[in-house]
């Protein structure tokens, strides 16, 4: 079976390589897919390829991270978990490559003229892409198959894992450069629309890095949630308490990794959106205020569902932690805040009402709710959602811990680390504050008298710096918990309530400055995540544990929550792919090469939901098949009459010691 997987991958790669010469001088612009709509066919194939791609790029990131944790803590459970994640990966890799080959064939076959243009720009890079794929597949198989043989050369094995991640990330970046070039082409002659630039120039287009960042984080979240669902299904079917404990823990880790990717994702999305707007105001406006504004409402529902689901899962998880009753009562308030924020987030600004509805509402826009649909309101609540989720994790982390060693007794090393991190944060916040104080309104095409509106965010950053100094000073005085809450509280007030409301004023009187307000909110929030986490590590250093962690005691609904999260992230990635591609409207290459095929119209959200669901179900079915293969192989490896097991025996039930290090 191992060799078969490898053979599939290699065949797919050969397929891609063979497809490249097929770009010679096409006569026809478009062809149908076996008599059916070629656009739908490409949509489904590309979406499936992206889903598998996201999985095989996301999983190695945390597989290697977990392996490193296992190596450093010498806890075999981590190594087993990392190996189990990698097992899932090896099967998915073959599928990804096969779908990549199919996508290449389909594109060259169905859109010959467009691919002629695109391969004319990127043909050199396409060979590099294929070569990277070879390197990645070799690295993956070495990483997977030599896992146990290299048990004593763990450092070297981890290096292989890192190389695998580097290859995967570079492959993703190369593919992103093609997709982003289609959205923001550069190196084009204005008069003839012919490409006159270099391949590097085309790759390094304005949307390349924003897309890279967005996809990288998205892949981590995607991989985490899919692995979480795998663990959930295994948990639900587990026959022994030992198995349940293992898959409960695996599900937790999957969810944790996913949320780590999910937390910064809205900012990466904001960055991408901002650059989309900067590159083309038409595309940007179409995204947020035009044809895709309602698709973003669906996106808000999905992201809201992910945050609510993750928090709900954590809340249920608190019950397996002795001592958590001290904090459980607060979680429901956090969840209420998240639900309220979520409601604001999905409030649309523009209501395309029917005539009857317009008559009853009194216009195209709802008199009150229209304000909640504006960017400023959405920025405020998304920050609040993230901070609330962070607080959930914080409470979860300290759930069964008593008091830690007082900071004053932790030695000079702790003091210097804390001071160093605080100094770094102060430098970053201070620099941006200084920038805002000296920002020339003309740089934003604003008249000089608008400079007064730049002051409040700059002052608030100074307030944050002051609060940070107070929090650090309180930690030195062994009052770190109060300092932590003080900083978190001020952050929430600043970015949600003060800047959230101030954003409306800015939108009305100095609109171009709104993006700086959003950056201020983001920087403040990130500073809070970093400082509060750092303080938490020191506050609970050496803390005794209240009771033993009881892995494997989760109710079934918690596991269905993990499955729910997996389905939602699959739908989300499909929806985001639709938006990114759909923003080009009837252009293959935006503003340069028009899509004149009969399928160049923008599908509505109903069709989008159906196609994305179909892709999602195909993906989940295929992944389930791979999971089944993995578990079948595992069972075979465990049979006593077939020699030693292929990987370490099931780990002992988790106990409080490991519970600490996992969080």
């Amino acid at each position: 079976m191992r060799y078969r997987k490898g053979a599939i991958t290699l065949l797919a790669l050969i397929g891609v390589a063979l497809a490249l010469p097929a770009m010679a001088a096409p006569e026809e612009a478009y062809r149908t897919f076996l008599g059916y709509d070629s656009r739908i066919a490409i949509w489904i194939i590309a979406e499936l390829h992206l889903m598998f791609g996201a999985f095989v790029l996301g999983v190695p990131i945390f597989a290697v991270t977990i392996e490193i944790i296992g190596w450093k803590t010498k806890d075999p459970r981590y190594d087993k978990l990392a190996y189990e994640f990698t097992q899932l990966l090896s099967g998915a890799f073959g599928f990804t490559a096969t779908l990549g080959g199919l996508l290449a064939f389909s594109l060259f076959g169905l859109y010959p003229k467009f691919m002629d243009y695109l391969s004319g720009v990127f043909h050199d890079v396409m060979y590099i892409y294929a070569l990277l794929f070879f390197v990645e597949s070799i690295t993956l198989y070495l990483y997977y198959y030599l896992w146990h043989k290299m048990a004593k050369q763990k450092g070297l094995h981890i290096l292989l894992g890192i190389l695998l991640n580097v290859c995967g990330t570079v492959i993703m970046m190369v593919a992103n450069s093609w997709a982003s070039f289609m959205m923001s082409p550069v190196g084009i002659a204005k008069d003839t629309n012919q490409f006159i630039g270099s391949a590097w120039q085309a790759m390094n287009n304005p949307l390349w890095h924003p897309l890279n960042l967005h996809r990288f984080l998205g892949n981590v979240a995607f991989g985490g949630f899919v692995c979480g669902a795998y663990a959930a299904i295994r948990y639900l079917g587990a026959k022994t308490q030992e198995e349940r404990a293992h898959y409960d823990w695996m599900g937790y880790i999957g969810n944790f990794c996913a949320v780590c990717g999910l937390i910064p994702l809205p900012f990466a999305g904001y960055y991408l959106g901002r650059e989309v707007y900067s590159n083309s105001a038409v595309m940007g406006n179409n995204m947020m205020g035009g044809a895709f504004s309602w698709t973003f409402i669906i996106q808000a529902i999905l992201i809201g569902g992910l945050f609510i689901g993750s928090n709900y899962y954590l809340w249920i998880g608190m019950h397996r932690i002795p001592g958590s009753e001290r904090y459980t009562k607060y979680i429901k308030f956090i969840d209420i805040i998240i639900i309220l924020c979520f409601a604001v987030w999905l409030t649309p600004h523009n209501l395309p009402l029917s005539a009857e509805e317009q008559i009853s509402v009194g216009g195209q826009y709802h008199p009150t709710l229209k304000y909640l649909g504006l960017m400023s309101g959405k920025n405020a609540v998304v920050n609040f959602i993230i901070l609330s989720t962070f607080l959930s994790f914080l409470l979860y982390r300290r759930a069964n811990l008593g008091e830690g060693i007082p900071f004053s007794k932790q030695g000079a090393k702790s003091r210097w680390i804390l001071l160093g991190i605080a100094a770094g944060l102060i430098l970053i916040l201070g620099s941006y504050s200084n920038y805002l104080f000296h920002l020339n309104p003309a740089a934003l095409d604003l008249p000089a008298d608008k400079a007064k509106y730049f002051k409040l965010p700059a002052i608030l950053l100074l307030v944050q710096i002051t609060a940070m100094l107070v929090a650090v000073a309180m930690t030195f005085m062994n009052r770190g918990k109060i300092g932590q809450m003080l900083y978190l509280g001020i952050t929430i007030i600043d970015i949600t309530f003060v800047l959230g409301v101030y954003g409306y004023i800015v939108m009305a009187v100095a609109n171009p400055f709104l993006r700086n307000v959003a950056v201020t909110q983001w920087m403040t929030m990130m500073s809070s995540l970093v400082l509060v986490t750092t303080l938490d590590v020191f506050l609970f250093k050496g803390a005794p544990q209240v009771g033993e962690m009881t892995w494997g005691k989760m109710p079934s609904r918690s596991q269905y929550t993990l499955i729910f999260l997996c389905v939602f992230i699959v739908m989300l990635i499909g929806l985001m792919g639709f938006i990114r591609s759909g923003l080009r409207e009837n252009w293959h290459i935006y503003g340069v090469m028009q899509d004149t095929s009969p399928g160049s119209w923008t599908p509505d959200n109903a069709l989008m939901a159906k196609v994305v669901s179909a892709c999602g179900l195909i993906f989940l079915s295929a992944v389930s098949f791979l999971f089944w293969l993995t578990s079948a192989a595992e069972k075979k490896a465990h049979k006593p009459d077939e020699g030693p097991a292929a990987h370490p025996k099931a780990a002992p039930p988790a106990h409080e010691k490991t519970a600490r290090s996992r969080s």
Binding site: G35, D191, T192, A281, V282, P352, I359, A508, Y560, S613
Partner: protein, 345 residues
């Protein structure tokens, strides 16, 4: 036997994987439901209508639709965009609507340039070269609308300018066309259009005879002649199509079939009438006088309504032409119909 079958079925349903799969399918079904619901409340992808021709009405539909002007500009209380100046009378910053405001701007520019500059020059120049005059307090970021990706044609820009003139002022096409900037616009937009326009070709050739059958046969899945006339044969609810291929290009015809609400020909806009009795009647306005209005519905049925009984009358964005031709026709049938329409020169 039956019992063992039921037992087997129950045991499958008890399987954790099957339960998880059913759950996942259920979540997908909810997602599809959300997509359907949002499409139904948002009017789908077809949220804007377009009226053909060079008129303030055509300009209005371009402003709120294809031209995407509304994504940055509002007009008074219409729209909510604030990125670019409001083009109606709005607050202390914009006491006059653009039709009147243009006069003041023209004076200001004239003084600056030291030569005559009319309100029409102001409107046309702002579309020929948006950087020519940037309103204080706003970013210099308006796209050139005759260039891709918006790529409006000269006639369409002229229609938009007429619409803007109508905001407080009098539409005057002659003044717009006399502007020296109009010539520049014509030249620039013409060359741009030649550079980016690609010859359009449908997938299949199609059989016009079979297409004619689809069009006229009252028992076909899409009996077009029920509403459209060709060579004196057919209904009068929708526009006459006798010379449609001579006056419209192929992408336009395809769009009209697949997305009938995307472009609604002037004079065929549907209206919703709410009577004082609470009755809701939708149809295309066929006749109107001082006392009554006559609407025709998609079946060609006409209904006369006394104006004294009308509570509200609102123009609809959604065409009364069915928008499910994509589902009703096969790919072959669609191309046969298209081939027939192409013969109508």
């Amino acid at each position: 036997m039956q019992n063992s079958f039921v037992k087997a079925a129950l045991s499958i349903l008890q399987n954790s994987f099957v339960k998880s799969a059913v759950f996942a399918v259920g979540v997908c079904a909810i997602y599809i439901g959300i997509g359907e619901e949002i499409t139904s409340i948002s009017g789908g992808a077809k949220t804007a209508t377009t009226v053909a021709g060079i008129s303030p009405e055509a300009g209005e539909s371009i402003f709120w639709g294809k031209g995407k002007c509304h994504t940055c500009h509002s007009i008074g209380d219409q729209g909510s965009a604030i990125r670019a100046p409001n083009l109606g009378a709005h607050g202390s910053d914009f006491p006059l609507p653009i039709g009147l405001r243009a006069e003041g701007r023209a004076k200001e520019i004239s003084q600056k340039l030291g030569k005559p500059f009319t309100a029409a020059d102001y409107l046309v120049s702002s579309h020929y070269d948006p950087e020519f005059y940037v309103v204080s307090g706003y970013k210099n970021e308006m796209p050139v609308i005759w260039k891709p990706p918006i790529g409006l044609k000269v006639d369409e820009i002229l229609a938009v300018d007429l619409y803007l003139q109508s905001q407080g002022g009098e539409p005057n096409a002659e003044a717009l066309m006399k502007s020296p900037y109009f010539e520049l616009l014509k030249k620039a937009a013409g060359s741009q259009s030649a550079a980016t326009t690609v010859a359009f070709k449908p997938y299949l050739e199609g059989d016009p005879e079979k297409g004619k059958e689809i069009f006229f046969d009252p028992n076909s899945k899409t009996p077009c002649a029920k509403c459209h006339t060709v060579a004196g044969k057919g209904g009068k609810v929708g526009p006459e199509l006798t010379n449609v291929a001579g006056t419209r290009d192929l992408p336009y015809i395809i769009q009209s079939i697949l997305e009938p609400s995307a472009v609604i020909v002037s004079g065929y806009e549907p209206f919703l009438v709410v009577t004082k009795d609470g009755e809701f009647i939708t149809g295309v306005k066929k006749e109107e006088d001082d006392k009554s209005i006559t609407l025709a519905d998609s079946d060609g049925q006409r209904q006369k309504i006394e104006k004294s009984k009308i509570e509200k009358m609102v123009q609809q964005k959604k065409s009364i032409m069915p928008d499910n031709f994509r589902d009703l026709l096969t790919v072959d049938e669609f191309h046969n119909l298209l081939a027939f329409l192409q013969t109508l020169q």
